[in-house]
């Protein structure tokens, strides 16, 4: 048991190191220079340009050799300092991200969990009958093949422009300031519905197809067949099939939940929803090294943590994993 976790932990640490290094490299390999953008935005002229340029370069530590920048990055990372956003200068990156994360969690956790639960049950149900399978399955394929962005645009067009039921953009009404009133919460919810729906619908199709295929596989397996020849009612056979078919779906769910912190870039862009996905787009536009780095770091940690949790959950739900682990330590 201890050896299993030690080995897993080592692999995760290695992955973390490599991923964070890449995370540091990628923004710096982008063409362009964030300081130029900052200067041009300030509208400076003449000798002031050079003075401010030198000042900003020193403040962001960009005057130092590249290897030193890399080491500085790790050092401040361990202090919990993600740097200062260039685009939202002088707000610290951690503060910018902290402001965006609640929107992501609020949007993605319900849509992922609900689509997973409903999709799995729906897929298992469809696998039972040929008619359901023939009518609903193509529909699920269309849903899961739909690009989030396209569905988002269609929903926005239908509900915001044609029927005028929901607002088009933002996390809450532009006329309001965040506060704890019913009016504000109502505004939050009405802005939330469409991004939620577009994510929910697309994911639902994918989960349903996956589950349907797994259930059919399990129902054709030898143990199902043996139970049938022993006259067991379908209820028990379906229960076993469901319990076994859900295992790969759990992995899928964990990976999806790990990506939750990444936001849903396309959807958030369509609805201008202020989550991490939207931030990433802004950071790229403004060549904001530190914000981009911070967002990616968040994603890395989220995916790794979700994977680690799923390793543990698997030990609990699948006896085959436990047996394998015992064999390893023995």
């Amino acid at each position: 048991m201890g050896r299993y976790f030690r080995r897993k932990l080592l692999i995760y640490l290695l992955t973390f190191f490599v991923a964070v290094t890449l995370d540091w490299c990628i923004p710096r390999f982008m063409p362009g220079n964030p300081i130029d953008i900052l200067i041009s935005r300030a509208g400076l002229r003449g000798s002031a340009v050079q003075t401010m340029y030198d000042y900003y370069t020193r403040v962001f530590g960009l005057d130092q050799p590249i290897w030193k920048q890399y080491l500085n990055f790790w050092a401040s990372l361990f202090k919990g300092d993600l740097g200062i956003s260039i685009y939202l200068f002088p707000t610290p990156v951690s503060k910018v991200i902290a402001g965006a994360v609640p929107y992501d969690l609020f949007l993605l956790i319900p849509s992922t969990l609900l689509s997973w639960i409903i999709g799995n049950n729906f897929g298992a149900f469809a696998a039972r009958s040929k008619q359901l399978d023939n009518t609903l399955l193509p529909f699920s394929y269309i849903l899961s093949a739909t690009p989030y962005m396209w569905l988002g645009i269609i929903l926005a067009w239908a509900f915001c422009i044609v029927f005028r039921i929901f607002p088009l953009a933002g996390g809450y009404s532009f006329a309001m300031k965040p506060n704890l009133s019913f009016a504000f919460i109502g505004s939050l919810l009405s802005h939330w519905v469409l991004p939620f729906l577009s994510l929910f619908i697309v994911q639902l199709g994918g989960w349903a197809i996956g589950m349907r295929n797994m259930i059919i596989y399990e129902l054709e397996s030898d143990y199902s067949h043996y139970l049938k020849t022993l006259g067991s009612p379908n209820r028990l056979i379906r229960k076993y099939a469901f319990n076994n078919a859900i295992l790969p779906q759990i992995t899928g769910l964990a990976l999806k939940l790990g990506e939750v912190v990444a936001g849903a870039l396309a959807t958030e862009v369509v609805f201008a929803y202020p989550g991490i996905g939207y931030l990433i787009l802004q950071a790229i536009h403004n060549e904001d090294y530190f914000l981009l780095q911070g967002c990616f770091l968040f994603i890395i940690i989220g995916v790794l943590a979700a994977n680690f949790i799923i390793d543990i959950v698997y030990l609990l739900v699948d006896p085959r994993m436990r047996a394998g682990m015992q064999g390893e330590t023995a």
Binding site: S221, D222, Y223, H225, Y226, L227, K228, T229, L230, G231, S232, P233, R235, L236, Y240, N243, N244, L247, V317, D318, P319, R320, A323
Partner: protein
């Protein structure tokens, strides 16, 4: 008579047409009889076994009657057969090693299965333990997952489970095929032991290995290409078979005391016909050294002596 099968015909429905896998099977099985069912791969042994307990598509019931202990079995009706399965007729499947749900403890799976058939697990627990002793397994296996056991152990558990309700008929489908020779023998002996103590009345032991039948069977039935060729007591089939196919089959087994480096083993030349559009008449005709014009008609499977059934025009002629 524990089992009576009359004129049982079962086809496989495929996209290219019907495969005539079992035609006009007529045979009886006495109380306590272990009947070996032998023949080469694809001759319909498993089809016969499955059609008695679980006749599901693509298998297609054409005609025939099956009676067990004098009661008619509705083999063509998947739902109505459920009442008989497990309680009156049971099977140890070909895939016995994978027959258990991998994510349930064995005891839990058995209890859930029994509960679903409205049988109390607690009351049967003593029987289960007694049977586990018989197959030399510790009672602990009930708290284990299938993955923790070897293939042979899993097979013995399936044997215990399948015979738990003392069925009248047990179909053992190729249960020795995947085992090494010494395990084969012990599994075969356990079947005899189970029969002797009344765990089941009679057994159809499906195999392509005639030598194992010599050790455990009371009678042997030989099939060829979906038709019954010959059924007789074990001694008759081994020592004085009549059907040309049986003769060739038996003669192609190695014998003790014969040096096969000097005298090469002979096989049967040719291959069995495809059953999609099988030839009319006797299906062994093309490979049969004795074939003549009459073989264009299908020979009936008739009793030529007490307990000796044969489907051959030539060899059956003296008895007609």
């Amino acid at each position: 008579m524990s089992l009576q099968v009359e004129n049982l015909t079962v086809y496989y429905q495929t996209l290219r047409g019907e495969v005539h896998s079992l035609e006009h099977a007529n045979f009886n099985l006495g109380d306590g009889e272990i009947m070996g069912l032998a023949g080469e791969s694809g001759c319909g042994k498993t089809t016969l076994g499955n059609s008695l307990i679980y006749l599901a598509p693509p298998m297609k019931f054409i005609e025939g009657q099956v009676a067990l202990d004098g009661e008619e079995l509705p083999v063509w009706d998947i739902e109505r057969m459920n009442e008989f399965r497990f309680k009156k007729i049971s099977i140890i499947p070909q895939y016995a090693m994978n027959a258990m749900n991998p994510t349930r403890k064995i005891g839990k799976m058995i209890s859930e299965l029994l509960q679903s058939r409205k049988i109390n697990y607690k009351e049967l627990l003593s029987v289960i333990k007694e049977r586990l002793d018989k197959v030399k397994l510790p009672h602990d296996v009930l708290n284990m997952y299938p993955i923790e056991l070897s293939g042979g152990m899993k097979q013995r558990i399936v044997m215990v489970l399948s015979t738990l309700l003392n069925p009248s008929l047990l179909i053992a489908d190729e249960i020795t095929s995947a085992l090494d020779v010494s395990t084969q023998k012990s599994v075969a002996e356990m079947i005899v032991k189970f029969r002797d103590c009344g765990c089941m009345k009679s057994v159809i032991f499906i195999t392509h290995d005639v030598s194992i039948l010599y050790q455990i069977a009371d009678s042997i039935m030989i099939m060829y290409a979906g038709q019954l060729s010959e059924k007789a007591s074990k001694e008759t089939i081994i020592h004085s078979p009549l059907h040309p196919y049986t003769k060739l089959l038996i003669s192609s087994l190695p014998k003790v005391g014969v040096k096969h480096s000097e005298k090469k083993l002979t096989g049967i030349p040719g291959t069995p016909p495809l059953l999609l559009n099988p030839p009319v008449g006797c299906r062994f005709r093309d490979r049969c050294p004795l074939a003549f014009e009459k073989c264009l008609e299908t020979p009936p499977f008739v009793e030529i002596e007490q307990g000796h059934f044969l489907a051959c025009w030539k060899e059956g002629a003296p008895y007609a």
